[in-house]
Amino acid sequence: MWPWLLQRVSAALLLFFLMAHLWIEHFMHLGARITYRSVLERLLHGFYVFVDAGLLAVVVFHGLNGLRTVLVENTNDPAAVRAVTTTVWVVGVATFVFGMDVLSPFLFGHPWFRL
């Protein structure tokens, strides 16, 4: 039940986060170029950090939970379902960390992972 319910909850959250994301990037300052500096200045405000990090977490969950549904729907084997669930969680956490690394130069002044 939880994967089914949380897919609906995350979908509802995505309607907010995705509209906010598209509005902020494309419509709020119509025609303005997105530059490193404009992103840096925008992310000085906590609300935009919340939108970006929240969208990342929710979209990764929703996308990979959907992929999990596709992968297990023709399976009757509980062990196979558990294996897929575990794999998807590991990939999801890694994807979230990777996404936060993309944001990290703007949030912390330097990237988390770089040579």
């Binding site: 979908a11 995505l14 690394d101 993309v102 990290s104």
Partner: protein
């Protein structure tokens, strides 16, 4: 979680999706498109993160601005509009799925589907009119 179970088809009934495309109606196609669009969006998510990732593609602000500038070239603008159509479809059909889950519109699910597609066409037209004249070509 419960044990798996097998569904035994009624005798004489052959039901394999690949053999019964002719039986697909609005709801089934909506389901197929929902799944295809979902997988496309998941693939795009990884593309998006990789392109924006500072350590893979660029080493500083000048490279960031160059990459973002290149992504406003016409081929990518067309791709952006296609992406918008795919995301819009997935969102609107997702709203329909949640309404059906809550018990709304079950008897009129086909009208609800086409009504939401109409909303999508309007949103798409409005967004194109707002964005395309300001494209950096």
């Amino acid at each position: 979680m419960g044990q798996g179970f097998k569904v035994r088809p009624a005798s004489g009934l052959k039901r394999h999706p690949a053999q019964s495309l002719a039986t697909y109606r609005t709801g089934t196609w909506a389901w197929v498109l929902h799944r295809v669009s979902g997988l496309l969006i998941l693939a795009y998510l990884y593309f998006h993160l990789i392109v924006l990732s500072s350590d893979v593609w660029f080493k500083g602000s000048a490279d960031f601005n160059r990459v973002v500038g290149e992504l406003t070239a016409p081929p990518f603008l067309v791709a952006d509009l296609l992406l918008f159509v795919v995301v819009l479809y997935h969102a609107l059909n997702g709203i329909r799925i949640m309404l059906l889950d809550l018990g709304y519109g079950i008897r009129h699910q086909r009208q609800v589907f086409w009504g939401l597609m109409g909303v999508g066409a309007l949103v798409m037209a409005a967004a194109s009119v707002a964005l395309l004249p300001r494209a950096h070509l």
